[in-house]
Assembly symmetry: C2
Homo-oligomer: 359 residues x 2
């Protein structure tokens, strides 16, 4: 008897066109029955697709849009040509208008972030939105942000990201006070950038902020799952994410090569195929597809542009969970628990007890 989650979908976003998007939605509906969809895009392409899927059609609406944002449109270009008219914009507008609980697009990240910021606007007190990744670790899934929205080095943003990441972790993991770590290069004195150290001072002084500040963490703490939320700037976070993806693919390739090296290994791989297939599914990047835009007045999920219907299903599943767990309420709660003055205030003044030393 749970309420229906309404997902607004940019049906034209992604490299592979609307078919994989609609097929992904059908798969997502199978897993979560109480979902409805608004597909934004070309009616002439979407009508026949929905006609194919009799299970999906009754819970779907098509909203026709003429304009499609291309994968290589620059953010400024995308805004000029697609504001108000494109499927990407319309997907966001549905959230703004309250017709949908969450928006999903596989369109290009820069354009989507520009449009989302313009359409939904940043939450009061947050200077810039961030993109959070749900990162599988040896302990459990954790949140890593920012993985690509901002590239400024700014202590205030790292504090903002801690509040937002803490809210996302509370929504996802049902924890009252998830641990937050700042990504840094070791624990020796003199190490780390000034803005990271400044953010650490502010976070260490916070109490009952909706998260527990853990301290600095290093790159290998991500895979270990040392903390629930890893906070870093968008440049470093993006490089960490892609380096990890590249390493996982590299090790996977090594494993395939090793297990096909000689007949005995091939036989061994055959016998262990159930375990190896489970491992392959676990490491399949499509199963963790979806970046969460945080810090805007609405939930937006970025799906990978190159993914297939399985990846789209994962992104829609993530969107569903974000809406169901009331992410926006958790963010609002986070903002209340860590009160934010006006943007111009120096970051040191944000600390409840600015004189306190980092833990």
């Amino acid at each position: 008897m749970s309420e229906t989650i309404r997902i607004s979908v940019d049906a034209m976003g992604g490299d592979k066109g609307p078919r994989v998007v609609v097929e992904g939605a059908r798969l997502a509906l199978k897993e979560r029955k109480n979902t409805s969809f608004i597909f934004h895009g070309r009616q002439d392409q979407l009508d026949p697709l929905l006609a194919e899927f009799s299970d999906l059609k009754p819970v779907s609406t098509i909203h026709h849009c003429d304009t499609v944002i291309l994968m290589d449109d620059k953010p400024s270009q995308a805004l000029r040509k697609g504001r108000g008219t494109s499927s990407m914009w319309a997907a966001l507008q549905s959230v703004k208008d309250g017709e949908a609980d969450v928006a999903v697009s596989g369109g290009n990240t820069g354009a989507l972030m520009a449009m989302a910021t313009f359409c939904l606007r940043p939450i009061e007190g947050i200077s810039r939105p961030a993109i959070a990744a749900i990162w599988p670790t040896l302990r459990s899934d954790i949140v890593v942000l920012d993985v690509g929205a901002t590239i400024d080095d700014d202590a205030r943003q790292l504090v903002d990201f801690s509040i937002l990441g803490g809210a996302l972790a509370r929504a996802l993991f049902d924890q009252d006070s998830p641990t937050v770590g700042l990504l840094n290069v070791g624990t020796e004195e003199l190490k780390g950038l000034d803005h990271v150290k400044e953010a650490a001072r502010v976070l260490a002084a916070a109490h009952d902020a909706g998260f527990t500040y853990y301290g600095f963490v290093e790159g290998d703490d991500i895979g270990k799952g040392t903390v629930d939320v890893v906070v870093t700037d968008g440049f470093t976070g993006n490089i960490a994410l892609k380096t990890a993806e590249g390493t996982a693919r590299q090790v996977g390739t090594y494993l395939r090569m090793a297990l096909s090296a000689d007949p005995m290994s091939r036989l061994g791989a055959l016998l262990a195929s159930r375990a190896l297939n489970a491992l392959r599914r676990k490491m399949d990047p499509r199963t963790v597809n979806g970046g969460v835009f945080l810090g805007l007045n609405g939930i937006v999920i970025k799906s990978h542009g190159g993914t297939d219907e399985i990846g789209v299903k994962s992104a829609l599943g993530l969107a569903y969970e974000m809406a169901r767990s009331r992410l926006m309420d958790k963010v609002a709660e986070g903002m209340r628990r860590f009160p934010r003055p006006l943007q111009a205030t120096p970051v040191a003044a944000l600390a409840p007890q600015p004189e306190a030393k980092p833990a």
Copy 2:
């Protein structure tokens, strides 16, 4: 009939004391006969160790030092207490005095970098030294730098690192013009930090510089081996390195868990054990142990503090290869081929054709 490579070893550096260092040297000597060692450290500890190893003793000298730099000594503290007297300093001094071709220490990175910079001094025209990692990829080993020496964001340093990394790649891979890529967050307009873009402009305008500038690369290009040298600042490089290490360990753990999940998988793993053991050796972090300090008047190899004799052997092997391939000559050649004005010159003025656009 090749000449002997003389390795100066900080026998007290590392978490596990001099025994693993001396045992590592014995293993290294087995692989490369024409090596001699100067062990710097406590005579009373080193004498009995060398007495155990009759093969190592004839090619070894002990240089007694009273002071030992601890793993948690801060760089400034280490300099104060250990300058001139510690085993770490003495290991570097041997290179400076021409008694050894290369120095190796497993002591703490910050202290070793501070002492090395103080003792050996940066090469004229290079503002700061860097630490380079030799990174196994799907194509071949590549060079990634800086992985932790500097944490400034500075275009000039990225250009310096390209020259140094190019020289290291020429020494290691026997290539005349290795490819160099700048680590960045994608190829879309507006992406990337200003100093990275500025460095790209300078590098794109260089010709016959001892390397070929490839352009921007992303995190997943490291594991693919897209370029021979990946250049980034020490903060990002350190986080990328440790994130990759963490991911490799994570995937390895998943694999072990999968292959012991049920009897059939365990049998399969047994049959494939030769291939799996080869994979384990390939992924063993001890086999790629050793960071190369670049940009100083002498070669210094940083061994991992927590490694065992196998890891020490790898670091000594790397030191041997760096000396044998005449790394310092390649660096000097790199400096000549990419002429460096005085440090105060703005980076844009370094470009042979400052008006040229990036490729």
